[in-house]
Subunit: 353 residues, 3 copies
């Protein structure tokens, strides 16, 4: 039933590829191109690209047969394809030579799909998928084997869910969303109220999770449902592996969260946000637009739009840089101060004489 | 076979609800209540609650039809239900309007359950559940689809295991435990002995994991089995998502571990412990009762009961606050010291004259 | 079909065990030994071991019936087995009394295995395993229930994959590799190119993941595929739970990565590397051989071979220790400096008079 995509390298020429990328080329247009590669690994038949001038040296030595370069770049050794955005053109070339593995449309006979499910056109539902009642799945979506869909979930069009994705009850997922293996959407928010006897009373987590269009979520990342209302990952936001998004959080649109970052309950993050890896944001924090948080930072208060912070507790990036340039000197500083103190004492004694 | 809980909002009145909550009410007892909500999202027919006086302003403006308020609170705008513990009463009201989705009792025909399994009354075993030999499951427990139970596991009463939970061999789970999606109990402890040639010899992980009553464990959290003896999560302890509990660790009872916290091998944590997110506790550490560790802290030594620490390496919370108030001044401090040094030199030169 | 390993304690004697461990013994060789234990938990019939002299006191009080001790150790209370490497002998004794649970060879009728799969001898493929096209599995490998194998994966000999392991397309796994529950190999690298409108264009992740021989990977750890080329975990490297290994990373051989550590894209780590828990390594970093990074460190630049660093941003361990000894004094330091300043002013005023 399934025909895995073989990704046999296609063969093309510099001229054909330049036409496909809508770019001008220089050199021998008949040069055959079989694959794309990085500068360091490239071999005969490979296409490489030069994004930054600092790698120009490697380009002079590459075994590649052609290169995508900036418009103004000159290179006689090998044919060149000239692009205003070499990286974007390179991505297009990558897509020409490589399509990620996707199973064929159809419902596997070993999938268990509730008869109440609404399924769009060209949907692929793999073996050992379980779909509970009243679920909707849009056209072209792909559920790899082992996806668990709880009741009343809505999945948009062209969504990809990899193995071992959990989508808990009432979750709503937009179009073109990619969920990597082990992603959990809609697990209970971590909400408890302390009782007099020291035990913790569970606060029912009545809310839901909403994943908007074009969001991608990395392997084993968890997004908790809200206690009331919604946890929302907004349009175009990309989340790396092992990230924690707690109850009632809102993120994005067009934000980037690197691996192992955590955002605690009810915090709101604006658009074009960038968090490095292992960042921690506590609960009930408001973060503006276009904020950058350096890796491993621990945020302690609201951040206005345009902030760039680092450290735990966080500081403005310039203050942080100054402070951390000073910290290694701290030990010598203390000795220095002791010496100064003695010199002052000496002076005081002299004057007292 | 399964009838998903629809959670259609029930309709009630302020008077009925007050009776259900065992509370006094003021205002029109016939006011219809359809749902519970937060202060900011509330609409007509919603019940809200006021836990802290600082939110009183929002209460004056809410569209909600009624509010749970402290005993002494006065509010004429809308009917009020008066509670000694408004949050606890609100949780009860939440439970009145909302029951989390739970599948019906019964064993799904697509589950694979070893004939040697002992299964209590009203147990729900979903599709694609695999139960290996000599497992016991107590009354009223629920295994959602895709739970993997290794041999000789004991699961107590009214336990809930969500999809993709792994319960490795010999694990023992108490009553009313909730395991969210992707939880792993009993994976091998990370124990190796370095050989002369630099390679690492695996230390067999012979021990087990014990999860006591009323524990809740968040999505994709991992609890390793002990090398010898037991890894124990004690009664009533609540663990958030993506937490790591290493071999031979003991935690609780009634402790709270926020997301992405990690506790390394053989460390022991007392009761009523609170760890913020992304806390790290190294191996062989002993932590007393009622200890609080602020988010992102890295612990470096044993902590006596009642400690409240922050930072990495950790400091007492007061020392930490002072130190971190000082760190941003460090750069200016160094310049200041240089200036003082010059002034001292000047004085010294003058006195030498 | 499956006969779970019962691990009934075998009975032996000190003499027999000494022979098995290839060691000399002292005391009554007929003393029966039923199990191994830790010093603190040992009971009659147990074997314990003394690795470090500091635990000798516990040995004097243990209820154990025998002990593995260093060659030169003298102990009259109980029989002793004398080993040049007591810990290694103890591991052998552990293996004598305990074998981890492994299912029997055979393909479960509820597994879905593509007819194009090449399967070696004595392979165990559990229930609800899904194997897509063109996969190879070597002799003696074990796939527990619920393993998802994407197309064109190669799995070596005697590999163990626990429940809910995802092995994405084209991944190559060596011999004797252990993958704990929830491990993800080959999820897409987190690679995006920012477009002019602020949205993020996905960079196709064409590369693969290679796991070399004797690697062990902990529960819910994720290893991303490379954009181009390979992500490689080299021979003998051991990775704990919830670790993130990003695209195009290379680690090892014989390295140790403790839990919740993250390594970002394209970083290269040498052999005999040790990372404590929750370490963060950013992208495009090169780390030499035999480097040690203390827990919770955040690396900021390349590390030459032999480095031992700590902190975030990292410092050489000695500098870090000095700095962090000083930080708690920072607050008092500032007060001290203020006082010195006043004393200098006084002196200046006096001299001006």
């Amino acid at each position: 039933m399934k025909r895995p995509h073989k990704n046999r390298p296609k063969s093309t020429t510099v001229e054909e590829l330049a036409r496909h990328l809508n770019c001008r080329f220089e050199g021998d247009g008949n040069t055959p191109i079989h694959d794309v590669s990085s500068l360091e690994r490239a071999d005969k038949g490979d296409l490489v690209f030069l994004a930054e001038p600092k790698y120009r040296n490697s380009l002079e030595k590459t075994k590649a047969s052609a290169a995508i370069v900036p418009i103004e770049e000159k290179l006689d050794r090998i044919p060149t394809i000239h692009s205003e955005h070499p990286y974007v053109s390179f991505i297009k070339a990558l897509e020409f030579f490589y399509t990620p593995y996707r199973p064929e449309p159809g419902i596997h006979p070993q999938a268990l799909v509730s008869p109440s499910t609404t399924i769009g056109k060209d949907v692929s539902i793999g073996a050992f998928v379980f779909i509970d009642e009243d679920v909707e799945i849009g056209d072209g979506s792909i559920l790899f084997p082992f996806v668990s869909v709880y009741p009343r979930v809505k999945i948009g069009k062209e969504v990809v869910c990899h193995s071992f994705v959990s989508i808990r009850e009432n979750t709503r997922i937009g179009n073109r969303v990619i969920l990597h293996n082990g992603v959990v959407l809609g697990s209970d928010g971590f909400g408890f109220q302390k009782a007099k006897d020291g035990s913790h009373i569970k606060i029912p987590q009545k809310g839901i999770v909403i994943i908007e269009d074009d969001v991608e979520i990395g392997a084993n990342t968890t997004v908790d449902r809200a206690a009331l209302g919604e946890t929302v990952i907004k349009r175009g936001t990309k989340i790396d592996n092992l990230v924690q998004v707690a109850h009632s959080v809102e993120i994005g649109p067009d934000s980037i969260l690197a691996a192992q970052t955590g955002i605690a309950g009810s915090s709101k993050v604006g658009k074009n946000f960038i968090a490095g890896g292992q960042v921690g944001i506590p609960d009930h924090i408001t973060i503006g637009d276009s904020v950058i948080i350096a890796a491993k930072s621990g945020i302690t208060k609201n951040l206005p739009s345009g902030s760039f912070v680092s450290g735990s507790p966080h500081l403005d990036i310039r203050t942080w840089r100054k402070a951390w340039a000073a910290i290694p000197q701290l030990y010598d500083l203390i000795r220095e101060i002791r010496k100064l103190k003695k010199r002052i004492e000496k002076l005081e004694n002299k004057l007292r004489e």
